[in-house]
Amino acid sequence: MIKAIALKLVSSVLLLSGLCACGNIEPWVKPYERQQLADPIMNANPNPVSGAYMDHVFEAREGARGALGGGGGGCGCN
């Protein structure tokens, strides 16, 4: 089970990396067109210490967990 999952994950990364090697894809949003995306209000996790705390608040009280885009870890506490 775990092996199958791990193989799928590795395959996904290999596929994406392989795509990268296939040639230069022309970026449709040029670097000089990204000032809006670079605005601090567009940061998905502007306050890491606060984001990690709220993730913990919910995870400790809910059955669901994971896929929060962070680095993982946590206390595993009940």
């Binding site: 994406l16 995306l37 605005d39 209000i41 946590g74 595993g76 506490c77």
Partner: protein, 394 residues
């Protein structure tokens, strides 16, 4: 080959495969800015108060390396419904968590390592994580992957001889994609496997008293020794023309205990002039129960596995947030490039569909609020969560 050896080989194959797959590009990515945060948090709800500090410092060196350290503390005072039903009195405990992180940037690839240690009087947890991310396609796309390995020790404050282990594995992949000049989206997937003593040694399930069916008897929960969960999340963030941002997300979750959960989130960020930023968010969560969960079992040892943890029941929660941030020293002050003070308030309402308020059937039948076991009102409670913090960039 032992399962442990097999899993270790899988982990190494992930790392080796990813390292070989990722091209070592020459142009530079960027590490996060140097910053320090000092946060006070307070959670109050359902008879539980948890508060404490969290302090994070992050510093980069030579634009290639970054180190971070975080100290987090929970000071807990609990007289939750589970504590009350068990007949125990309010208890206090403390959890201290230390995390050290290291990042290394090479070309467009960032590698990160972290180690987390969490300690309570009756629970220790250690987690090591490795991850990497890579910018692709003119930096329109960022892919990331990582894994964590955790090892917990579960003890029981009332039984010094009791000690059990939990092993945890987590595998993550993610992709973040710039879609337009004002829209960015991401998808994250995570698989987590736990193996060991997964129930709380203090928590009980309840079954009907065979002598008096209007009463119940408590007995220690029994959980399976393994659990594997899958979660996939989609998130998007859009820049509005008048300089504000709206964001939304959805997460789908399933696990081998038959829990299925959905999480929806919608938020809005609104800057005012140069110094203020206001935020509002609503989050809705729902799940169905684990297959071995029951509010009231018919008799003792009715099944192989029995749980009455309300986190494994069918329930939903609705969370509302308002927050404000104020930036100071925007033009710099001594070694500080800028700073901010922040206040966030979240209100969370939990409503349980198959977890009854067992305190009611513990009353005397002559009490006005009394109801027999199994027909008590459904439990619900609200929680207030406050965060106050100061951040400085240097």
């Amino acid at each position: 080959m032992s399962p442990g050896t097999n899993k270790a080989r899988i982990l190494w194959s992930i790392v080796a495969g990813a390292a070989l797959a990722l091209p070592l590009a020459s142009s530079a990515g960027v590490l996060p800015d140097d910053r320090a945060d000092a946060l006070y948090h307070r959670y109050e709800g359902g008879g539980v108060t948890i508060q404490g500090p969290s302090v994070l410092v992050r510093k980069k060196m030579a634009e290639k390396y970054a180190v971070s350290a975080n100290y987090y503390q929970d000071m807990i005072t609990s007289a939750s419904i589970d504590v009350e039903v068990s007949g125990a009195s309010e208890y206090k405990e403390e959890r201290d968590q230390y995390q050290l992180g290291f990042e290394y940037l090479r070309g467009k690839t960032t590698y990160n390592l972290s180690y987390t240690n969490s300690e309570e009087n009756d629970y220790d947890a250690q987690t090591a994580s490795f991850g990497l991310s890579q910018d692709l396609f003119g930096d329109l796309t960022t892919i990331s992957m990582g894994f964590s390995r955790g090892s917990d020790k579960v003890r029981n404050a009332t039984d010094p001889s009791f000690e059990r282990d939990i092993d945890r594995w987590s595998y993550r992949v993610g992709v973040s994609q710039i879609l337009t000049k004002s829209l960015i989206a991401s998808m994250n997937l995570e698989v987590i496997t736990d193996e060991g003593f997964l129930n709380n040694p203090y928590r009980s399930y309840r079954y009907k008293d065979p002598v008096d069916g209007t009463r119940f008897i408590l007995a220690q929960e029994i959980y399976p020794r393994t659990r594997t969960s899958n979660a996939v999340a989609l998130n998007a963030r859009y820049f509005l023309p008048y300089r504000a941002a709206v964001y939304g997300g959805y997460r789908f979750f399933t696990d081998t205990w038959d829990i299925r959960a959905d999480t929806f989130e919608l938020g809005y960020v609104h800057p005012i002039k140069q110094q203020w930023t206001l935020e509002a968010r609503v989050r809705y969560y729902q799940q169905n129960n684990a297959e071995f969960y029951r509010d009231l079992f018919d008799f003792a040892n009715q099944q192989n596995f029995m749980a009455r943890d309300k986190e494994l029941s069918t329930f939903n929660s609705m969370a509302f947030r308002i927050g404000a941030s104020y930036e100071f020293a925007q033009t710099g002050w001594r070694f500080v490039k800028k700073g901010s003070v922040n206040l966030f308030y979240d209100r969370i309402e939990f409503k349980y569909d198959d977890f009854h308020d067992a305190r009611v059937s513990q009353m005397l039948p002559t009490d006005p609020g009394y109801a027999p076991a199994g027909s008590e009102p459904l439990y619900e409670f609200g929680a207030n969560v406050i965060q106050m913090f100061v951040s400085i960039w240097f």
